[in-house]
Symmetry: C2
Subunit: 332 residues, 2 copies
DNA sequence: GACTAGCACTCGATGATACCGAGTGCCACC
DNA sequence: GGTGGCACTCGGTATCATCGAGTGCTAGTC
């Protein structure tokens, strides 16, 4: 598709533009070490690259900037890049030192990732529905309000407030908890919907309330999402309006989750501009990777920045962090 | 300090500037209903207001914009404003419909508040340390990792991962839980540090681990903070740099909590510009209010916007929401 | 045929100049 | 004390010339 030299030129343009955010001229490219031809030759090739849609000119007498297609080609020809030494060390020591609740760790992971890349970072936590239940409890709070608490094997805690239909006697809630524990322990939480009926009528009423609270109304926030580094992201854009619309996306957790899932489902690990499928992200790029616990993909991490993103660095950071995060979560 | 007319003029300038973000000229003020003098007179008074530090001129031939002192005077003379009918209805129906976990509700409260005001909203949750413990559990996760879970009376759940010193036998964790429950139930979680030693040595080891996990290392994130509407806030500023620095603040939960607490401690419910004590918020204003559960102030809500904020609206919204939130949390 | 030197050309950015008008300060007057 | 009137200020906008980075093209070289 692209001969060797055109590819080099495209690479040089993208790399330069990523650094300077200024249109890149033929002279500058010709001076690049990797390209040993005159600026005139570069000009010819750049004109061809523009005709093929890899580059564009903001205006006639300016240099070129990459198009979405240009970034895509650049990303596709990247050999899997390595993280520089100090950053790798930072990741390693972060996960070595991590001894915390899972939420805290995921939240801190966004900080790490954002710090490594200088863009916004997203971590989607493991779907709680999949994890096995370790322990179940039903605690009365006040009046007819009770709290159903399930501890999952991965250290997460799911809770639901439950409104009871009738006043409870002393032993009801523990009995309901026992019934739930009997059927749920060792199962994923989703198994709650297939729970066998209890013999005791009062217990059954409580159980049904719990089932209702656990299955229903949970669609609006299906996973735990952590976002960080929005401020860093803001620094990458010149127009407030762009920042605003990107922030709007980042604040809608459900949208973020869907976005990451969509991108991964399409088999991509980078989505550039309109590839994200979201209009407000037209000037953005997204680098994602799943992380695996015991060989199974349980969650996703990602980095959101401008389309003129430092792709090698972002890809490396996301790869290393997702790998380490999965590793850390696997060992328990 | 300010005679009646000067106060009216100041009020007119602030109100106009809040709406338009444009310097306000004497002509416009003179045409305001509340001011029945000629523009020349207004000019004289405005010059006086400027000399007194209430107004300033961006440049000689422009109108005036309020200074921090001007906003302060404006806010101080506000009679406590009421929320408009539809907004009040929105708040009411929100809290009527709220039947959720406390975290979910607080998070949604930020959305409500942000939606009402069109600025960023912050809610600081009740300090968990103060709430009474209802139930205690210790659940083994894997290897020597266990999870300490405490359900509090307000429906919050505190959890800490605990690393055990030795392998556990079947009954150890339940026994440790029982010991903890015995001493903690009905007490605030902070009482964990004064727990009596257990007779059993193995139990005592677990208990000590729990105490260590509960008391230590928790200073860095003392409360649960919810922030929303950063995107709306971004729309209020013209310079990306301003947006970026404000975002940086909002992303540091500890800073936000401290900020709100400081402002309240100084007896203010509005902090304008440098009154916040934070350089990056020089162009911002913060409206805060505590909310009370059973007559005790347990948390804080706030709105962060530009110093040219719609103060009457923001004050009204914060007042109503804090009152309703406290009410809702009190009834359990 | 592939590359390059050279050159005319384009067009945004920059700066000088003029003009407009909103808004001011001040003064004379009521 | 309040007001009408007026000269003045100065940012914003428009116009125009200049500059130069960068281009496309052509003729020439290896």
């Amino acid at each position: 598709m692209l001969d060797e030299r055109k590819a080099s030129i495209l690479r040089a343009v993208v790399e330069e533009y990523i650094q300077t955010a200024q249109p890149v001229g033929s002279g500058l490219v010709a001076r690049t070490a990797a390209v040993n031809v005159s600026s005139a030759t570069v000009r010819n090739d750049m004109a061809a690259l523009e005709a093929d849609g890899y580059l564009q000119q903001p205006h006639t007498s300016a240099g070129r900037i990459p198009t979405e297609k240009g970034y895509r080609a650049f990303v596709d020809q990247l050999s899997h890049p390595a993280l520089d030494r100090s950053a790798a060390q930072r990741v390693r020591s972060f996960f070595d030192a991590a001894h915390m609740e899972i939420e805290q760790m995921l939240a801190d992971t966004t900080r790490l990732l954002s710090g490594l890349t200088d863009y916004a970072a997203v971590v989607v936590g493991p779907a709680h529905e999949a994890a096995r239940v370790r322990s179940v409890q039903v605690v009365g709070l006040s009046g007819r309000i009770a709290l159903f608490v399930a501890v999952l094997a991965n250290g997460a805690v799911e809770k639901r407030t439950v409104e009871l239909q009738a006043d409870t006697d002393e032993s009801l809630l523990p009995r309901a908890a026992a019934h739930l524990a009997e059927h749920l322990t060792g199962q994923p939480l989703a198994a709650v919907s297939e729970i066998a009926a209890a013999h005791d009528e009062a217990v059954e009423a409580v159980v049904r309330s719990v089932v209702a609270a656990t299955t229903g109304g949970h669609d609006d926030e299906p996973d735990h999402v952590f976002v960080n580094g929005a401020a860093r992201m803001a620094g990458s854009f010149a127009a407030v309006e762009t920042v605003r619309s990107v922030l709007t996306i980042l604040e809608q957790q459900l949208v973020v989750v869907t976005l990451l899932r969509d991108v991964l489902d399409r088999g991509l690990n980078v989505a550039i501009g309109t590839e994200t499928g979201m209009q407000p992200l037209a000037e953005c790029a997204l680098v994602v990777a799943p992380y695996e616990v015991d060989g199974e993909k349980v969650g996703t991490i990602g980095v959101l920045g401008p389309s003129r993103m430092n792709y090698p660095q972002a890809l490396a950071a996301v790869a290393v962090v997702s790998q380490q995060l999965g590793h850390r979560l696997s060992e328990g």
